[in-house]
Symmetry: C2
Subunit: 309 residues, 2 copies
């Protein structure tokens, strides 16, 4: 095992209020940067860049992340309200129903990468304006791997910037609906090929409860979502997946096809923990043994031996 | 490799008219018994029991199945119209839109199992009235494995009969919506456990383009659907899956967990061929090498090595 490299993540740091069939949580830690960090920090040191408002419970965040290798030096506190999201899930968890979104200080966010973070070999550009994602890339020096996420809002409103960003990233994670919207291809194999022709060598298409595909120039890999008996709150599953995925790559420093496959499984494992409790609660309590054990469960879930028939 | 055992299948033999974004087909060979037979016959001899009307192009069926080990001695021709289904798929293939269903002679079908078929060690009860599925079981002698399929219509209208049937089958295949409807459990792990508590030792839940789960008393196995670049016509995918699955078990005679897993993959492979052309056209032209090669593709699609991290 090589020494883990740090992962720089730029993303939202928000306060979520969530209702599910199993309960509700008010103003709990949320946002793509928060979930990514809580997840990736099990595998590699994390450098988080984001913005919070003057009303953000920073002591709570510091306490939650106290035992984790997450450097908060890039977390800027600005005058104004924190990013807040309120949403609800029905029994089928198919999609979140957004009840309220208040961007607050996030709407004027301009990421400033602290000097010590600029050499991070692994960079994850969380789901923010592609123009800001590009600004982050101007501030970092030759990362070994740059990955980005995006969402329907940017695909609609910032398409030219997003396409320019694609030329500069090695890997993109997005969900199936976003892949279809971006490429106007319904078929995911074609959609992935469309994206790969525009820059990224690797495309990870997340299908939520239906698992994730990773497309590379030479192969397709699929990992199912773990068949949990109780999904408690799906908020943050995608960012936790990304955290496990990029965190594993940073931990191992190995970008071979075989290792990328393992990284997808680590991503799936961390995503499966994230949904077992509200917020980052479960991500903060799991141990290395829990993760190893879940990865083993994934292996048993899909493994079969070919016969010679 | 043991000598393949015969598979007895009781199901519909219909004429389908299908429209997809890629073209249309009129009055082509369809029905659960037809797809199952075309698929399973690549792996084991098939004994088909069903009914056709006086208008059915029996010469066309005989010609199509001429080179395949499918015994049509149990195919009864009755006075009246054949079962016809007309449906349409939109671009997303999410679900068939049924435009017309004419049951014809199928509505008075009472399966009569020919004497030579009654000792078949593998029995597949295709999607017909559970009362008829039970009648089939009264006519066969101690099969090694009895599997059944069902659908929403029977879950609603024949629930007590279906529950009685469950006590007498070793394995059930059904799709995710049917599993949820039958068990009133949204979560598929809980749904499978509900079903297993009522008889079947093995539950296969098909999720269409999202793959299939097999639940057994000791493990869960998942196989994705193959990420085809072009899905042409999804009609019959589920029955082709069942044909590959049960056909593989009949071919090998091995009901171990490892072999059941391989069987799920053979089912997925045959299902993936079925959707590449209209009707059973693709199933009738594939070779053993094609099947082996697709099974190899599935293996590459999901395989990863666990590290010691």
């Amino acid at each position: 095992m090589a020494h883990p490299s740090p992962v720089l993540v730029v993303g939202s740091v928000a306060l979520d209020s969530v209702e599910t069939p199993f309960g509700k949580a008010d103003n709990v830690l949320g946002g793509s940067g928060t979930f990514f960090s809580a997840s990736a920090s099990h595998l590699a040191p994390v450098q988080l860049v984001g913005v919070i408002g003057s009303d953000y419970p920073i002591a709570k965040l510091r306490e939650s992340f106290a035992s984790r290798p997450i450097d908060l030096a890039g977390l800027e506190q600005a005058e104004g309200a924190s990013f807040r999201w309120r949403g609800r899930y029905r029994h089928d968890f198919n999609s979140a129903e957004t009840l309220e979104t208040h961007l607050g200080v996030f709407s004027n966010f301009r990421p400033k990468i602290p000097e010590p973070f600029r050499a991070a070999p692994f960079v994850f550009l969380g789901n923010i304006d592609p123009r800001l994602q590009l600004e982050v890339l101007e501030q970092v020096s030759k990362p070994k791997l740059v990955a980005c996420d995006t969402m329907n809002f940017w695909i609609e409103s910032r398409r030219p910037d997003l396409l320019r960003l694609l030329e500069h990233v090695d890997l993109i994670t997005l969900n199936d609906a976003e892949a279809r919207q971006l490429t106007e291809e319904f078929n995911l194999v074609r959609a992935a090929r469309w994206i790969m022709a525009r820059g990224p060598k690797h495309v990870v298409i997340k299908k939520g409860e239906h698992g994730a595909f990773m497309f590379t120039p030479t192969s397709i890999f699929f990992a199912p979502a773990y068949p949990l008996e109780s999904v408690f709150d799906p908020t943050g599953a995608g960012d936790s997946f990304a955290g496990g995925f990029i965190g594993y790559l940073a931990r191992t420093g190995d970008l071979s096809d075989g290792n990328l496959r393992r990284a997808v499984v680590y991503g799936s494992a961390l995503g499966s923990f994230a949904v077992e409790k509200f917020s980052v609660d479960r991500l903060l309590e799991i141990t290395p043994d829990d993760i190893r054990s879940r990865v083993g469960d994934f292996h048993r879930l899909v493994t079969f031996q070919q016969d010679m028939a």
